[in-house]
Symmetry: C2
Subunit: 339 residues, 2 copies
DNA sequence: CTGAAAGCGCTAACAA
DNA sequence: TTGTTAGCGCTTTCAG
């Protein structure tokens, strides 16, 4: 492994001072065109690539932003990442992507790694309502700008960008009620995660507004994945009486439910109506396309990126900014949609 | 924005030399337990987080690996990323994820950013057979270990991990021939991308082995996405005579074809058989589940990561290592599968 | 237009 | 067990 060449090697090669080389390489003023040309030629010949560790150390700036999401393999997050990347790359930032897998400890580790590498800012979809606060406070205490995206943590003094999870769920469930479904079950996600908790709240409030009673069997607790949906469906199938509508916390869960019900001969939407949340592409490809709530993941990304950029450029406001991206009902064949 | 504390602040706080603090923080030998305790307490109180820019500069090691993929939003790549991450995180490396969007210029930029940040190694799924060589040679010339994954670039002296694209395609097409399909069309991807070119080669060789003639209309040129599949299907629909089997370069394309054919009243597999490549989850959820070739994306990731780790730990071999991960035929309802 | 000195935050090597 | 010196590769002063 050969040694990489440095600014010093170029200086020696050109018989100039390190300083002149540094200036020429950065296109700074006050360098004789002839000199600059010699330097550039030498840099090329020596295969010089600047060492940004050194530059960043001096400048206290890395042009790097850290991203922490639960799991990049979940359909929603690549879209979000793309939104972030489009905006931030454009402005000269590079991205560190980390996954927390919804584990608080892992999240903490990843954030530490980012802080040690002195990223200019962090965009975080926190793993836990109850336990991520410490991690976020740690970022804040280092004076590192942070934007929470998709998920909130109450009581944290950070900028946030979320979708209207509560409103979306409320609207969805209200639609089901209007369609005269009598027994609407919510397959809910972990209540320690913001989006899941907001969607449950949307369900609850919509039911309450329609004077529907909510019994424990109306709520099935599960996770966020396809497999979690399969399990939830099995539990429902084991009951004496199936619901006539199921509102799932997200699309992967809904698709898991869909598949299990279908494999057990249940006809959607005739016997059971089914809905998800997020509008990932897969839902539309099902034999019976999935009614859902559209969330613009990429827009969440661009908004979060813009907010971070504003802070990076010195935006000072007393209060943290809380931005919401609207959701939209998407009615497809997995529910009855009269009128 | 308050100033972050450094090792120097702790030294002042404890009335010790910087060196002693450095040692204590790294759990090095030869520090009085009492002293270490004081230092640790002080570090905590001052909210000290080590500056790895400085450490990395001295140690010439960043514990960071750069990943460059075409597009993290494509189902295949999150799985690959996960494989990489599992292995590399475990061994203390953090990951820089970049997307090239199949653009050579963007790829070049991303690689430069990684090299400037002095990543310890790079894992790359190259954008172009004909144009990525320069970029890869640039990495190599810096003495930076690199592993090509999923896609190759001929004539490059780097370790590689690929799936058996040729064999998988050959097997698939041979199966279609055995099922007595007469007019088998290949919806091919860009021939400047390794996987697409290998799959076309698999198609061609299988046809040749069965003494089938290949005419220009047997091959439809398109891209890698769902939309590309839709376009290809429209072109086929416009023909006088539809094929009786379509082998698509990958699953997203196949699903795009599927949807367009279905929307035009074509029954799969009765009128047209359809197959993809990759076995992404979506293919199984279609009304008529998709016959395809399974590729273990995560395994590609773990293999590539292990290969890189070996190089990072000083593995020296004359020749680059070329590892292949097997593929497997997945027969589902979108093709006739007799016997 | 060019250069010398100092320092970013840390560690390796040697000395006390 | 602790401290001193030098230096990683670069940039910011301030001088020439």
């Amino acid at each position: 492994m050969k040694k990489r060449s440095s600014i010093k090697d170029i200086a020696r090669d050109c018989e100039l001072s390190v300083m002149t080389v540094s200036r020429a390489l950065r296109n700074a003023y006050g360098i004789h065109p002839k000199t600059r040309e010699r330097i550039l030629e030498s840099a090329k010949r020596l295969e010089y690539i600047p060492n940004r560790l050194a530059t960043n150390l001096v400048l206290r700036k890395t042009d790097t932003v850290g991203i922490v999401v639960p799991d990049i393999a979940r359909s929603f997050f690549p879209a979000l990442f793309r939104g972030l990347e489009m905006v931030l790359n454009e402005r000269g930032y590079h991205l560190f992507l980390c996954c927390s897998y919804d584990q608080v400890v892992k999240e903490q580790e990843q954030v530490m790694a980012l802080l040690e590498r002195r990223v200019d800012g962090i965009i975080l979809a926190p793993a836990s309502i109850s336990q991520s606060k410490g991690t976020i406070d740690c970022i804040l205490s280092q004076g590192c700008p942070v934007v929470l995206v998709d998920r909130l943590v109450p009581g944290v003094q950070a900028d946030t960008v979320t979708a209207t999870d509560f409103e979306g769920a409320y609207e969805m469930v209200t639609h089901l009620i209007k369609q005269k479904y009598q027994n609407i079950v919510h397959v809910a996600g972990s209540q320690d995660i913001w989006t899941a908790s907001e969607r449950l709240r949307g369900y609850t409030e919509a039911m309450r507004a329609a004077k529907r009673e909510i019994h424990p069997e109306h709520i099935v607790q599960t996770g966020f994945t396809f497999e979690d949906g399969e399990n939830a469906a099995k539990m429902l199938l084991a009951r004496k009486k199936m619901p006539d509508a199921i509102f799932c916390v997200n699309d992967p869960v809904a698709i898991g439910v869909y598949k299990t019900l279908r494999d057990n001969g249940i006809v959607i939407p005739d016997q059971v109506a089914l809905t998800g949340f997020s509008a990932i592409a897969e839902g539309e490809l099902l034999e019976v396309p999935l009614t859902t709530v559209r969330q613009d993941a990429q827009a969440l990304g661009t908004e979060a990126a813009n907010l971070l950029l504003a802070r990076l450029n010195g935006l000072k406001t007393e209060m943290p900014v809380a931005k919401q991206v609207p959701t939209e009902l998407v009615l497809r064949a997995s529910t009855r949609n009269n009128k």
